[in-house]
Symmetry: C2
Subunit: 148 residues, 2 copies
DNA sequence: TTACGTTTGCAAATGATATTCATTTAGCTT
DNA sequence: AAGCTAAATGAATATCATTTGCAAACGTAA
């Protein structure tokens, strides 16, 4: 499993930053990795709390999510209203999202040409891109059919 | 000026929805139209409050911004952390944004090919797009030069 | 101009996220 | 292994943007 590799790379990251290797942090990594879908932090907090065993406090979850973002294992992928949806991206290839505003379904996609065109735009503006997010909001196939 | 036309179309919109035509709402439209740049609501509230004359309360600004979004004159264009940046789009052609994470500068761009590719992706997934947002975060030319 | 439903302003509620602070813990250093 | 120090944790509290409840003011149609 690549979770172990991820954890060891996360360990390197922490050491390098002078941070400490704690049980809590790695537990949260495990939880997020096993959650298996897009998540909001509050959702994650509740889910972790409902699991038996050791729990991390809300604050620690928030703090660790931040760390994991800096580390690059997590990405803020959807911003809808005042909700922020995260995704565990470690090891996954880059992609964008279609979001059904009716049922909340999230569909991932990747179009190389779009990425290339973005690079082109950045070059044209002498802009150095760090990251980007493309969200397409609409109605998914199923919801469209239900409307009939 | 097309602000007048905009206001009369907004008036139609309100009537059609059974809402009322109030001075406050149109004052806010004027303010936003004359603000001339991307804005956050709190920024707008402060700006309106600093102007002499009649002011609209914070709640009314928030409520009217919502209405204007539904109406289509305003768009949420950038979501960064817990900030939401809006733009007055009435009459403007559609475009996306480059955001400098160093100085906050916002650069608008439009690439037809990107739009087309998005439509293609949606078709491939039988997804009916309603709207989309492409944000490219990075470092602008000026900030890059300052780094030297 | 009356009558009724909507809008407004204010204050208070919310909800997500951040922070403070006292306590515990990780990871040196002897 | 024991001690030391800075960092991490949990709980409570603060903050920030945004929303809501409510009484008073206002817009509209008859």
């Amino acid at each position: 499993m690549q979770v172990d590799e991820l954890k060891s790379r996360f360990e390197q990251f922490l050491k390098q930053k002078g941070y400490k290797i704690t049980k809590g942090r790695f537990e949260i990594v495990d939880k997020i990795a096993s959650y298996g879908k897009h998540f909001e932090i509050e959702e994650l907090v509740r889910w972790i709390a409902n699991q038996n065993k050791t729990v991390a406090s809300r604050s620690t979850v928030y703090r660790t999510v931040r760390l994991l973002q800096d580390f690059g294992a997590i990405r803020e992928v959807i911003k809808l209203g005042n909700r922020t949806i995260y995704e565990f991206v470690a090891g996954k290839p880059h992609h964008e999202h279609l979001i059904c505003v009716e049922c909340g379904k999230i569909i991932e996609f990747y179009k190389d040409e779009i990425e290339e065109l973005q690079d082109k735009v950045c070059e044209e503006h002498s802009f150095t891109p760090l990251n980007h997010r493309l969200e397409i909001f609409g109605i998914c196939k199923d919801c469209m059919e239900k409307r009939t």
